[in-house]
């Protein structure tokens, strides 16, 4: 999904207005920008920098620091695999490998057909349900390797 410059100016502009162009709200502004546009495009960061009068280097520093921000386009569906301690001992690494095999991408990447992005997280606070996989915010508990294929097949 590519986004055109006008769309970026519109969306970033309304996010900036929502926060009254307050420099202190940089992280929230980036979060809302990413929510609206799917990821933080280079042009988005340029718009945020100009709109807040915060140097681009500082915007880039913050955007590249947090794992929650993606500077690359992300797929239609986001898969988060929990690798927290509880999930880990319950076999999360095997689940992750199965997902990597099935999608053909590694953690942190996006498939070429833009169908999936794969990421790992360190605990989502649902340890009793481990190993846990979250697809588009939907929690799938007590994952088994043979459940990976049908789960992914249910997302186009």
């Amino acid at each position: 999904m590519t986004i055109d410059a006008e769309q970026i100016r519109d969306k970033v502009g309304s996010v900036l207005d929502k926060y009254q162009r307050d420099k202190g709200m940089l992280v929230s502004i980036l979060q809302d920008t990413q929510a609206a546009l799917g990821y933080l495009a280079r042009e988005s960061l340029l718009e945020v920098s100009a709109g807040l009068e915060v140097p681009l280097s500082q915007v880039y520093s913050v955007a590249s620091f947090f794992r929650a921000f993606s500077l690359k386009p992300r797929g239609r569906h986001l898969i988060d695999v929990c690798l927290g301690t509880a999930c880990h001992v319950r076999g999360a690494v095997g689940i992750l490998e199965a997902i990597e095999r099935e999608t053909g991408i590694k953690s942190g990447d996006t498939s070429e057909d833009m169908r999936f992005s794969l990421e790992t997280v360190n605990c989502v606070g649902a340890c009793a349900l481990g190993p846990i996989v979250i697809v588009d915010g939907k929690y799938e508990g007590e994952m088994k390797i043979d459940r990976v294929k049908p789960l992914l097949a249910s997302y186009d």
Partner: protein, 241 residues
Amino acid sequence: MVTLTIDGRTVQAEEGAMALDVAQEKGIYIPTLCAHESVTPYGACRLCLVEVKTAAGRERLVTSCLYPVEEGLEVITNSERILRNRQTIIDLLLARCPESTVIQDMARELGVEKSSYHPEDHGNCILCALCVRACQEVVGVSAISLVNRGVEREMAIPFFDDSTACIACGSCSYICPTSAITMEDSGGVRTIRMPNNETEFEMVPCKVCGNYWMPRKQVDYISRTKGIEPEFFDLCTTCRD
């Protein structure tokens, strides 16, 4: 003013002054790489560790560059415990920057001949952010920052390729304690080399002697922000009266 002791010597200092500055003012040496009088302290290199004991009796190891002095404070700048800690720190820095002569010299000074860790050459950058602080606080352009995090942290221009904000003044190269950023002027071009980027900038020649003496972007920046006519920069400093 407050009264404190440093290595047993009673000294007077401005309340809130950092322990490192107070010690240096009194001629007491504390090793450091990331402290500089022109920028705010940052506590990145950790080499300026000292032992402090407050009037209330609380004892601990602190980075002296970031520790404000107070009434009745006892500071010890050199002890077996401090030396051990500094050795570990310089040992780690030496593993990160095995080729840096500055780090090598400081390691030798602290009694570390060879790193006990597996060396991984990351160039000469120790991520002290002196360049970032100078660019922001002294120059005022904030062209560079520390990006990413954890083991991937590095100093860089935005997106590793956008030098729009840089005015090629070379302050980053000048202030870098380990020469991780270098600068070279040759044939009307200034080249600034960072650990992950190399950028060339146009220089302007002096109207009299013809020597290239200042980057075009720096001339533009100073003219714009200080309201000085660009013609002011026609002559280099040696060709002026």
